[in-house]
């Protein structure tokens, strides 16, 4: 692992024997401390709330982990989930990246094998913090490979506390990204090492790590494009070597075959456009290797001619084949999410379901700075230092920075992939600064005045301290809320816990038939199945747009129409989230226009977004709302009895508008549960009348007879 030289540093001062003996111990100690910091700074939510799974997607991962622990690998592979996407069902085994669940199950089984019983939930909750410690280690290794160990330690401590990574890896956030970043960094480290040593063994390790990544996260595409790109750039720069050939070919062949073992990926590595760059680079490497072989047998001049024509012909041929295959649709067209990365207007125009997710929005600078803070200021210097050295590893860092920053700019979600490399670059910058100003002995590359050294070091210390404060604050305030449990503060600063979601889910679990079907907007699907163990219509795995649109149509239609749709879908309960009473802005009415848009995309004759605005084109929900809006099921369910409960003074605190003053009449559904802060409202679909009457008539009759 020892690198002969470090970036921009000509020669390190030889340490005295005593310190040399101490150094490894010190390093290990520091790394352990870093891992502990990384682990413990992610525990805010566990300390503050309880050991609970956060957010939405993790609930599915948790549920499937439970399934896997209970039924084993093979039944998970063949798991057909009847509880979601009713009545279509979902083939979970074939539509999921199982790496996370397998990891948790393995940990669980090992612990049980050691007779240390630990609840699977706690394993899932602690998974991300645990792997953050490992990420710090992997980042240390990676940075040591690129620069030196000092930089490695800095990078490790940065990644351990960087809010950009913490945002996805707090305790309870049991999601793919939590472990994927560790695998990402490990894979890149192994790749650089394989490249440096030219060892097939290391390349196989890289491929195995890549396989783990494929099994874990859809973001593996990042690896399978970045490594080929690195190889490609190296070839272009004339840095082809046998080490590169061995490393890349071994990695690609083993990695691709391994990747195809994941059912969800299947034959994509041979057919989808996302993987074509890797294949192309593989082919090109063979050509270049062949060319090198030919060169060793041919005079120089002849060879150059040959090479030129071969290159031109080869590239033209490849491009031609690729275009032909793309045009004939033999190679899968770009998938929607991937496409929206390049053509930024695409999602907005064509796939409302992708555009509707806030994670897929482009990133404003403030959120990036919030996530990276000081690191962002060190980032450009780190890249610059990579240029001054400019060997294989440094080129990799540069390419990584360039692409990851583009992706992070396009999608908020992908700030996550940028974070590690920013930490690495910042670590390199810090190491260089420290080398110039930190050592007590004078070298030619150092200023002679020790006061200057102290001043610079002092400023750096303050900056890093500030960064630590910021990170802790950001973690505590912004990223440690489980979103199932909401926390808000009273005017006097004390904390109130709003536990409506769990109340409602628990109610459903205890009060509904085991085969009851629940309808809600897809955001709550995973949580609903996870918490209540009931069947849901749509969930966060948005694989069937039509089904989601049908739910949107039901929400946007009037009561009669909606009733018809709900009966057809065998719905028993409808759940809506209403934030008007406490000002919870992520409620269904705020998402309502997206529901209408998605529904109108599939049923253009049934719904029209325009009808939901007032004549003046405004989105209003008070008495001036458009008729269609007032008739819609979502509106009725949200505001049902709201104004009456507040003695006619109802005020929607999300929209800052008055609640509809006329009592809302609901004939075909009945309110069965409203949580204490009114955030979750559950309605039961009435059975068709026993006497065959229209339910409006029944309601009128019952009212009159009373």
């Amino acid at each position: 692992m020892a690198k002969p030289s470090s970036v921009a540093v000509a020669a390190a001062t030889p340490p005295t024997p005593a310190t040399r003996d101490m150094l490894p111990l010190l390093r290990v100690g520091i790394l352990v401390l870093i891992a502990i910091i990384g682990f413990s700074s992610r525990l805010f939510s566990v300390v503050r709330f309880e050991s609970i799974i956060h957010e939405f997607d993790p609930w599915f991962n948790y549920r499937s982990t439970q399934y896997m622990v209970k039924n084993g690998m093979y039944s998970f592979w063949n798991w057909f989930d009847e509880r979601s996407w009713y009545p279509l069902g979902r083939v979970v085994g074939g539509t999921v990246y199982p790496g996370l669940m397998v990891t948790a199950t393995v940990i669980h089984n090992i612990l049980h094998g050691l007779n240390y019983p630990m609840d699977i939930r706690n394993i899932c909750v602690m998974m991300a913090p645990l792997f953050s410690g490992l990420t710090a280690l992997a980042t240390y290794l990676f940075t040591s490979e690129v620069c030196n160990r000092t930089a490695g330690l800095f990078a490790a401590v940065f990644i351990a506390v960087a809010p950009g990574y913490i945002s996805r890896s707090v305790a309870g956030s049991y999601d793919y990204e939590g472990i994927a970043i560790f695998i990402l960094m490990l894979c890149f480290y192994l790749w650089l090492r394989a490249l440096r040593t030219g060892s097939p063994l290391m390349a196989v390790f890289t491929a195995v790590t890549y396989f783990y990544m494929v099994a874990t996260w859809g973001g593996y595409v990042f690896i399978i494009n970045l490594i080929p790109l690195h190889a490609f750039v190296l070839i272009l720069m004339g840095r082809f070597s046998n080490r590169l050939y061995v490393a890349y070919c071994t990695f690609y062949a083993v990695g691709t075959m391994a990747a195809m073992q994941i059912p969800f990926v299947g034959f994509q590595p041979t057919s989808s456009s996302e993987h074509m760059a890797a294949l192309g680079t593989f082919g090109m490497l063979q050509l270049v290797a062949f060319a090198h072989f030919v060169r060793s047998h041919l005079p120089n001049q002849q060879f150059k001619q040959l090479l030129r024509w071969l290159l031109v012909g080869g590239v033209a041929l490849l491009v031609g084949i690729f275009l032909l295959l793309s045009a004939t649709r033999f190679i899968a067209p770009w998938t929607g999410r991937f496409y929206s990365l390049w053509d930024t207007g695409y999602a907005k125009a064509n796939i409302p379901i992708i555009a509707s997710v806030s994670e897929h929005q482009p990133t404003a600078w403030a959120s990036l700075f919030f996530d990276l803070q000081l690191l962002m200021l060190l980032f450009p210097a780190g890249i610059y230092f990579c240029f001054t050295k400019f060997e294989e590893a440094q080129i990799f860092v540069i390419i990584y920075s360039l692409f990851a920053s583009y992706f992070a700019g396009v999608m908020v979600r992908l700030v996550l992939t940028l974070t590690p490399i920013v930490c690495v670059a910042a670590g390199i910058a810090m190491a260089n600064l420290l080398y110039s100003y930190g050592s007590p002995t004078a070298t030619p590359a150092k200023p002679r005045n020790s006061i200057i050294q102290l001043a610079v070091l002092g400023c750096l210390f303050i900056s890093v301290l500030m960064f630590m404060f910021h990170s802790t604050w950001a973690t505590s305030e912004a990223y440690s809320s489980p979103s199932v449990v909401l926390a808000s503060s009273r005017p006097d600063g004390s904390r109130i816990i709003i536990d409506d979601f769990r109340d409602a889910y628990y109610w459903l679990r205890k009060n509904t038939a085991p085969d009851a079907k629940l309808m809600s907007w897809w955001d709550y699907g995973y949580q609903l199945t996870g918490f209540t163990n009931r069947t849901v219509l749509v969930d966060n795995n948005t694989w069937n747009n039509t089904h989601i649109a049908t739910v949107g149509l039901a929400m946007g239609s009037d009561e009669d129409k909606a009733y018809e749709i709900l009966r057809k879908l065998d719905v028993d309960y409808v759940l809506v989230v209403f934030g008007g009473l406490v000002g919870y802005s992520g409620d269904d009415l705020n998402k309502f226009l997206w529901m209408v848009r998605i529904a109108a995309g599939v049923y253009p004759d049934e719904l029209n977004e325009k009808d939901f605005y007032t004549a003046g084109g405004e989105f209003r929900l008070d008495d001036q709302a458009s008729q269609k809006m007032k008739d819609s099921l979502m509106y009725k369910l949200s505001y049902y009895r709201f104004n009456e409960a507040l003695q006619g003074q109802g005020m929607d605190r999300v929209r800052q508008s008055k609640a509809p003053s006329k009592p809302i009449r609901l004939d075909m559904l009945e309110e069965v549960m409203t949580s204490s802060h009114w955030i979750v409202r559950i309605f039961k679909l009435k059975e068709p009348d026993n006497l065959g009457r229209n339910l409006h008539k029944v309601a009128t009759f019952n009212k009159k007879q009373k």
């Binding site: 125009a349 610059y384 400019f390 200023p447 900056s463 500030m466």
Partner: protein, 278 residues
Amino acid sequence: MSKDRTFPVMVLFTAYGGSFPCNPCEAFAPEYQVVADSWRRLAPAAEKDRLFFMVATVENTRSAFERLGVQSVPVPYHFPPNSGSQAKGNANKPQSVDLNKVGLQAESLVKFMNQKLGYTFKTYRPINWRRLSIIGLVVSFVITVAVILLPRLSWRSFSFKGLGSSVVIVVTLMMCSGFMFVRIKGIPYMIAGRSGQPEFIAGQFQHQWGIETQIVASVYALCGACIVALVHRIPKIDNQIRQSVTAVVVMALFMAAYSAMMAFLRIKNPAYPYRLLF
């Protein structure tokens, strides 16, 4: 619009210049021209002379705006014939299309018209010779330069450290400063604030103006330059006093930039608790 009109009419309600500045209107005007042109070229022969394209601006036809209740411009209206064989009785209310939703391209209007008129005609775009020739010029220039220069440059002598590093760093910083945010969302460069003063930093956490990209990117670049200077330049200064002064100034600049970034963040999120120098 007379009572007995046997032919359909397309009217574009819009506003040019004058008292109502309207960027989308300006942008849509040539597209409308394209639609009319496409009709003239590609419509069925029998129908060609039966559709009229008109433009109504706010300045000249205020009464028409009021009568139809037009709230936003530009908006194309389709008036079906209200007498003669093709009149559709009750269905002859004028109908509009929301350009904000379908997009400001000629294609979207043509799609709308095809629905309403019942014929299909395609959009015909004349080849934009000017743009094409400019692209051609640029491409040929690049090729020429490459052909002339490339043989004289070997890969190794090519200065990646200079050109490459600056290109990479500039692009990276732009991406990290919300350049794509501004581009994708079509956000204005900057706007006037409440008191008429220009507002440089938008007051929302999830939002920003175009100019912020430049401000923030330059601050990042400044910080990078400071660190590079501290590592590479300052140790090489021979004069100890000059060295000290430069080091202090550069470090102070860095700290100031750091503080400035935090100050910007406080503008966006007043709850942000930390500050360094100011």
